[in-house]
């Protein structure tokens, strides 16, 4: 259908049979790729070739393929999601590569994200952090009218900025310490800036930061790699806010 030139690429892909397998890099060739292929569609093509030749296709996480579900999670040439501004892997298009390029593809690497297979890792630690208290403890039903709680627009916008997080874990993957500070900071901040979340703010920040440590995430050393890795552009100001909330909680 497409009349564009095609390219041939060398892929060096992390293959790992299971959690206990040491894993290694394998080299593949991606042929007939156009600039309109998304990165994952390029991987689809490589997988089709592998299946035809009777080999096991590369296993990778993906779902919505429109940059919102947060499922896709590959490190490309050392950068989570390929390092393009505000872009998930599924939105990364092959026009950013050149014919003959060599591309390293690896899974998220962090202690808290053990690898399940090939490029798939286990991110339930992020769920654990949320379960520790990233919510307002309201019941279904029996709540006041939506307009009974007035929220100034700047606060609503600030909460929305934090809530844009898709929970992909790129911040952890990009962090040299495997820290989940940006993820956790966004959760703490989202609820700290709006009245509904204030009642539980102190307990929440304590519980979430404890959960973060228990899950095996590292600590923040303010490299700000997380912010550049984040496909939604979540700002490190939310880490600062969490630190502030944490300090406040110590004296409340």
């Amino acid at each position: 259908m497409s009349d564009h030139k095609t390219m041939t690429l060398t892929l060096i892909v992390w293959r790992q049979k299971g959690p206990s397998d040491p894993g290694k890099f394998e080299t593949y060739t991606a042929k007939g790729i156009t600039e309109h292929h998304s990165f994952l569609e390029m991987l689809d093509c490589v997988n089709e070739d592998l299946i035809y030749s009777g080999k096991e296709p590369i296993v990778f996480d993906h779902d919505c393929r429109e940059g919102i579900c947060g499922m896709c999670s590959q490190v490309i040439n050392g950068l989570a999601h390929g390092g393009r501004d505000r872009t998930t892997v599924c939105q990364l298009h092959m026009r950013t590569f050149k014919d003959g390029d060599t591309i390293y593809i690896e899974p998220w690497r962090a202690r808290a994200f053990p690898i399940i297979k090939d490029l798939v890792c286990d991110r339930t630690a992020l769920d654990t952090i949320v379960q520790a208290g990233a919510y307002v403890s309201c019941h279904t039903g029996g709540v006041p009218d939506g307009n009974a709680i007035l929220i100034p627009k700047p606060a609503a916008d600030e909460a929305m900025d934090a809530a844009e997080c898709v929970g992909c874990g790129a911040c952890v993957a990009g962090c040299p310490n495997g820290a989940a500070m940006l993820f956790t900071g966004a959760k703490v901040s989202q609820f700290a800036v709006i009245p509904q979340g204030k009642a539980e703010a102190a307990e929440r920040v304590k519980a979430l930061t404890d959960a973060m440590t228990e899950c095996g995430f590292g600590n923040c050393t303010n490299h700000y790699e997380c912010q550049t890795a984040c496909p939604k552009g979540i700002n490190v100001k939310f880490i600062a806010r969490m630190n502030r909330e944490f300090l406040k909680a110590q004296f409340s």
Partner: protein, 637 residues
């Protein structure tokens, strides 16, 4: 058989309140003795699991993703409707009810729709209390916008990510219950069978997607909230993992499938770029507020750069055909008009499958900055995918499958014809009729999960003894063995075509012959070709690896196998429905391009009973009665 939806009678305004009072209650101390399974954790499933857990039931929730937060409800952009009437512009529960019935082309139950409109207001309150960051005005009040052709401003939104924010609200409520221990969450599990014992739904068989093991879970009630089936077209706006499998397995165990031919095709999606493409991306409908749709008048202009086509050679076909609604014609109509132009050989872009959405007039009128302010993120998304600048040249758009109005048949209590099996959200057929209005899908999912199922499931559970069947029952063993046998078969074929190839082929057939427009002939072609292709699939598919490991090929193969069986039913339903209504457009039944309903013969819900693969299913009808809204022709001319 004539089906009974068990709708309450009497004045429609009191139906839900009266019904709630009539439902039996489960004693608080007894609730924890009941096990409830919820499959799917989108808006409907997530909200249901959280609410049922909070009530005190023992809930087990399942999703195929690695986290309940990733369900495809997350991708909804536009907003959620509610009859709050905050803008004081004449909205009411009755008007939302009326709009939904009419928008659905009079193919939905009045009582269900009334209930939806009634609880829509509670949903907004609930989400605000959860901390969902809805848009606010400077005084701090909730903001509304108009959406999807409604004449009132009733849509609440959170930037372009309303679905995401509502889902995260439900996910946070669910997470709270998981922490409290009332809900046990099972990630990366795919439901592959419904276990029915003596005619009652008693549990499910799931595959652990990491280890490949078959697992059995027993419960006193099973809730399916497993979404829609438009991935039967292969290319759609759904996520890659969305499938008909859970609903189809329930159907094969006896649950009726209602109105499968009602599918919604969204008019503004980014066109397909090549054969390798895996999915289509939707661009919010709001773009049509300022964009003008056109194609070249002359076929030879189609290859030219759009800016080189002179004004007089452009055909603004929506403005020409629908002078009063123009570019804002409803989804089904705008989609069909685009297809018509492309079929006429005047489409643009790869394969001639695209129309222009041109902002140059608006940019001249209000300036590029204003357009950027309104749609900046959409232009950015368009450029990311196509590498074209929508400010400088018109965007290319083409319709794409987006939502399925049909689904498993349920009564007013959201219970299917199998006792103990409840179906929620997009997976059921209940409220959208033949066409869904914008910003109504989120409303339905949350209504079912937060405010309907918590009541109606109690009415059922109060009539059954808890824990009567355990997971060691023979039926569970048989079910697991059957599923395993099917997987072994798929793995053993070792043919020469991949699962993707088959799915592409099936999707192509469905899109071509059972897509935006259908005819008797096209459906006959499909009814012949699909069984043949299915047979080929079972002979020639190649699935690598084993069943006892993380095997995405095997997952896809199973889903594709179910799509093959389902596609035939969908075509059959479309074939039998000799009328056009909403998303179901039969070319034979039209009045100058407009859908022509046949209320005398087809004013019913068509629910199909499974009789075996390749065997003709049996049709059951549930007549639709309209006591509050008068049947009328939808016209947008």
């Amino acid at each position: 058989m004539i089906l009974d939806g068990k709708c309450p009678t009497g004045p429609i305004q009191q139906t839900w309140d009266k019904h709630r009072f009539d439902l039996k209650l489960v004693n608080p101390a007894n609730k924890r003795k009941y096990n409830v399974i919820v499959v799917g954790t989108g808006l409907a499933g997530g909200a249901a699991a959280a609410s049922l857990g909070e009530l005190g039931y023992n809930v087990q929730a399942f999703c195929y993703q690695d986290s309940p937060r990733r369900a495809h409800s997350i991708a909804a952009q536009g907003g959620i409707n509610a009859a709050k009437n905050y803008p004081n512009d004449g909205d009411s529960i009755y008007r939302l009810f009326y709009d939904t019935i009419k928008g659905g082309d009079f193919r939905a139950r009045e009582a269900d729709v009334w209930r939806l409109a009634q609880v829509s207001n509670n949903i907004i309150d609930q989400c605000v209390a959860q901390g969902v960051p809805f848009a606010r005005d400077y005084a701090g009040y909730l903001d509304n916008r108009s959406f999807g052709g409604a004449q009132v401003s009733r849509t609440f939104y959170a930037r372009g990510q309303t679905g995401q924010q509502l889902l995260l609200g439900a996910y946070s409520a669910l997470s709270r219950q998981i922490k409290l221990g009332t809900v046990k969450m099972y990630n990366r599990r795919e439901m592959l069978d419904l276990v029915v014992v003596d005619g009652v739904a008693r549990g499910i068989t799931v595959r652990n997607l990491i280890t490949g093991e078959m697992e059995s879970y027993a419960a006193d009630a099973v809730c399916l909230a497993t979404g829609g089936y438009v991935n039967v077209f292969y290319l759609s706006t759904n996520a890659m993992g969305c499938s008909v499998t859970a609903a189809w397995k329930a159907h094969k165990k006896g649950a009726y499938f209602a109105n499968p031919c009602y599918t919604q095709i969204h008019p503004t999606c980014i066109p397909q770029a090549g054969d390798y493409q895996s999915k289509l991306t939707l661009m919010s409908e709001s773009l049509r507020n300022d964009g003008r749709c056109w194609v070249p008048k002359k076929k030879e202009d189609c290859g030219k750069h759009p800016n080189e086509v002179p004004e007089e050679d452009r055909d603004y076909y929506l403005e020409r055909k629908y002078p009063s609604f123009g570019n804002l014609a409803p989804r089904d109509i705008a989609s069909r008009a685009a297809k018509e132009q492309c079929d006429d050989g005047r489409g643009v872009g790869p394969g001639g499958r695209g129309v222009y959405l041109d902002f140059s007039t608006s940019i001249k009128r209000v300036g590029a900055d204003t357009i950027k302010e309104r749609y900046g993120n959409l232009f950015e998304m368009y450029e990311k995918i196509t590498d074209e600048d929508g400010y400088k040249r018109p965007m290319r758009m083409y319709p794409a499958p987006h939502y399925s109005m049909g689904g498993l048949w349920v009564d007013y209590n959201l219970m299917s014809n199998i006792p103990g099996l409840f179906v929620l959200g997009e997976a059921n057929f209940s409220v959208h009729g033949a066409n869904r209005l914008g910003a109504s899908a989120l409303m339905q999912g949350l209504a079912d999960g937060y405010f309907v199922i918590p009541y109606t499931i109690g009415g059922y559970l109060a009539t059954v003894k808890p824990g009567e069947v355990k997971a060691d029952h023979d039926e569970f063993k048989n079910s697991a063995a059957d599923v395993k046998a099917e997987q072994e078969k798929l793995l053993s074929i070792n043919g020469n075509k991949t699962v993707f190839e088959f799915m592409r082929e099936l999707g192509g057939l469905m899109w071509e012959n059972c897509g935006m427009a259908r005819t008797k002939q096209s459906l006959e072609i499909n009814l012949k070709k699909i069984p043949a292709l299915r047979e080929d699939f079972w002979k020639n598919v190649k699935v690598t690896g084993t069943g006892a490991e993380f095997n995405q090929q095997l997952e896809n193969a199973g889903r594709t196998a179910d799509f093959f069986e389902f596609a035939e039913l969908m075509c059959r339903d479309a074939y039998h429905r000799n009328e056009s209504c909403g998303g179901h457009f039969r070319e034979e039944y039209q009045d100058q391009g407009e859908a022509e309903r046949d209320d005398a013969n087809f004013c019913y819900v068509g629910a199909w009973e499974f009789k075996g693969v390749g065997k003709e299913p049996e049709l059951h009808k549930e007549p639709l009665k309209f006591d509050n809204v008068h049947l009328a022709v939808r016209s947008y001319k």
